[in-house]
């Protein structure tokens, strides 16, 4: 059982929805971003998605692209990202951390070496955007064997025929991408998303978390209400981009988390 499984069991027992927040590691620098990450659990975040910066984030909108560029301009690396996780784990052994990013930095490190480093640092799961089920042998299967969850994206283009393939090697939770498009683009509508979540839940017992296009506490509440929880990324990252103090950003995160927890 990973920290992710334990977290969902606890939330279920409390009758609560999960609030997941995405932040980019090293944006705008390591100390600031570590302060932010350390403050997330107290702001109500149940699961942290930690972005691993990449030069070519083809599934992300401008907000997250630019955050990655700021991090890389500050010489952020995979090693420093792993170190951030270790520093977080020094005070918090409960909140799950999911690393989210693209395959090349991991492939470049070497899959086996990466997995043992990630596990040792305290990472619980991976969301790797450019690894569909067709490429499961690359990282998904080795990650599961190493005891990490591999969380898959399901999308509006994933039809019923394809869904079982997407769910097959998924663990931890299913991340439903609410829109066709990139992160931070169109706004997700609960009435469009609800039947899709139901469709996925009819084929899996895993929690279904909805992300992409959720920007406000109200949206957080309405989307979490029709799923097992929701993810907010770009809206938080853009607060950081405005140069706001970490405490102010955490206040905003708390309003989003409260929204999801009201659901």
């Amino acid at each position: 059982m990973t920290r992710i499984d334990a977290k969902f069991a606890k939330l279920r027992a409390e009758g609560k929805k999960a609030f997941v927040s995405y932040v980019m590691a090293g944006d705008p620098d390591v100390p600031t971003s570590l302060d932010l990450v350390k403050g997330l659990p107290a702001a109500g975040v149940d699961i942290i998605e930690l972005g691993l910066p990449f030069t070519d984030p083809m599934a992300d909108g401008p907000t997250i692209q630019e955050a990655g560029q700021r991090a890389l301009a500050g010489h952020m690396t995979l090693d420093k990202t792993l170190q951030m996780v270790r520093d977080f784990r020094a005070d918090d052994d409960e909140t799950p951390i999911v690393m989210m990013g693209y395959y090349n930095p991991i492939y470049s490190r070497g899959v086996d070496r990466f997995l043992s480093q990630a596990k040792e640092a305290g990472i619980d799961g991976l969301i790797i955007v450019d690894l569909p089920p067709e490429e499961d042998d690359e990282l998904c299967i080795p990650a599961q064997k190493a005891g990490l969850n591999f969380i898959r994206l399901a999308t509006p283009t994933t039809d019923d025929k394809r869904l079982p393939k997407v769910l097959e090697n998924t663990s931890g939770f299913v991340y439903y991408v609410s829109i066709t498009g990139i992160t931070g683009a169109a706004e997700a509508q609960a009435e469009d998303v609800a039947p899709e979540v139901a469709r996925i839940k009819s084929q899996t017992d895993l929690p279904v978390i909805v992300g992409f296009g959720i920007k406000t506490p109200a949206a957080s509440e309405s989307i979490a209400a029709i799923a097992d929880g929701c993810v907010v990324g770009s809206a938080i990252v853009s607060e950081m981009a405005k140069g706001k103090a970490v405490s102010e950003v955490l206040d905003f995160v708390k309003t989003l988390a409260d929204g999801a927890h009201r659901a």
């Binding site: 030069t55 083809m58 090349n104 450019d130 990139i182």
Partner: protein
């Protein structure tokens, strides 16, 4: 024993791999689209009416077959091997790019897609796509790095004349790879009506194989024309490589002819060194995953993608088609690099000795011909692919030669 086992022409496998290279490294949103594209392409490939339409348009719209030309004065000047040029620069729109665009647009029409998107570097693929879209009355959106928009104004204007919308890409560093990222972002957003027309033998499966198949008309014609001219196969074939589509098109029909030496020429920029001021993915890069496929890439030690550098905007890409990576690793083709300075010399020699103004891309291939031809015997036949004409490059060349023509 099945002869095909020993063939170099059977790839890719069902996972879209050439050896360890290629594959389908895309987000889930795109996955159903590329599976659909693969199914439609596999169907079209065996449909005679698809190829009939292609051949009709190749002949009457593009002007194929392009000539195979014996470069007599160049051969004399080099004093060794006989040099032939495959004249794909004579195609409509001035480069090999349209061979592939026609195939993809005909496929898009069969799939009922009404909106075509493309990425472009120097603008040749963008112009070819805008051209064919105009011919068929399709909406066309071309993503082009903001930096390339600046340095390739004539092609930007051409695309606009042809009715295309040109979107300057400012994300990342505003170059070809960023244009490809933005085209992929567009596709992920507009999945229902949009067809992504990729300009080179890269991207997720089936693009590398499909674009190669469409460009293979170059090599097929070369085989026939060489038989007519010399009664035999060439000894060496040479082509320039950015993503590698003109090269793959020339090489593919010769892969199973062991007597034919195959040489790909990468852009060496200011020289292949640790400063990475070049675009030689095979000579100076290592395997990685970008834009849907595993291939050799210019990257730093942390797996972050680096920008290439070349005088030629058409070679300015940090990756290379996966089939080239495979041919490189198994040793069937040899890959070398040529610097900006060497390419400029070849450019001038070609103008003066043959009355052909070559694009900077094939000038790289020609520069390698100049290197090896003098040491080869007179009965050695070299064929290089003159894949584009140089009209688009005269401002760049003038600047490099320190002349003011503005």
């Amino acid at each position: 024993m099945n002869e095909l086992v020993n063939s170099f022409m059977t790839g890719p496998d069902e996972k879209g791999r050439f050896g360890d290279f290629g594959g389908r490294f895309v987000s889930e949103t795109l996955m159903p689209l590329i599976l659909e594209l693969e199914a439609q392409y596999e169907h079209a490939k065996t449909d005679q009416s698809f190829w009939d339409e292609m051949h009709f348009l190749w002949k009457h719209y593009v002007g194929r077959p392009s000539p195979l030309y014996f470069a007599e004065r160049l051969t004399e000047r080099l004093g060794g091997a006989k040099v032939y040029m495959k004249r794909d620069e004579l195609n409509h729109t001035g480069a090999h790019k349209i061979n592939n665009v026609l195939g993809q647009i005909i496929l898009a029409r069969r799939m009922g897609k009404t909106r075509i998107i493309a990425e472009t570097g120097a603008g040749q693929h963008g112009v070819a796509t805008a051209t064919v879209c105009a011919k068929f009355g399709l909406k066309c959106v071309v993503y082009m790095g903001a930096h390339d928009v600046e340095r390739q104004q004539p092609n930007v204007f051409r695309m606009k004349l042809l009715g295309a919308e040109v979107v300057p890409v400012t994300s990342g560093r505003g170059t070809l790879k960023d244009a490809m990222n933005d085209a992929l972002r567009d596709w992920v957003t507009n999945v229902r009506d949009t067809f992504y027309c990729i300009g080179t033998v890269a991207g997720p499966h089936p693009y590398p194989a499909m674009v190669r198949d469409f460009q293979s008309i170059i090599g097929k014609e070369t085989r026939e024309q060489m038989h007519e001219a010399e009664g035999r196969l060439p000894d060496t074939i040479i082509a320039a490589i950015g993503g590698g589509s003109n090269a793959m098109g020339l090489f593919y029909p010769f892969l199973d002819d062991p007597s034919v030496n195959i040489i790909g020429v990468e852009a060496g920029g200011k020289g292949v060194n640790e400063k990475m001021e070049h675009c030689a993915s095979l000579t100076g890069g290592r395997p990685g995953v970008l834009h849907g496929n595993r291939t050799y890439l210019l990257q730093d030690e942390d797996g972050q993608i680096l920008e290439g550098f070349s005088i030629s905007a058409g070679l300015d890409y940090p990756g290379i088609g996966p089939e080239h990576s495979w041919l490189h690793d198994i040793g069937r083709a040899k890959y070398v690099s040529i610097t900006d300075v060497e390419a400029l010399e070849a450019f001038q020699l070609c103008c003066e000795s043959e009355g052909i103004i070559p694009a900077l891309e094939p000038s790289h291939a020609l520069a390698h011909v100049m290197k090896i031809a003098p040491d080869l015997p007179a009965d050695h036949i070299i064929c290089m692919n003159m894949c584009g004409r140089g009209d688009k490059d005269i401002f760049t060349v003038a600047k490099a030669l320190g002349r003011d023509i503005a």
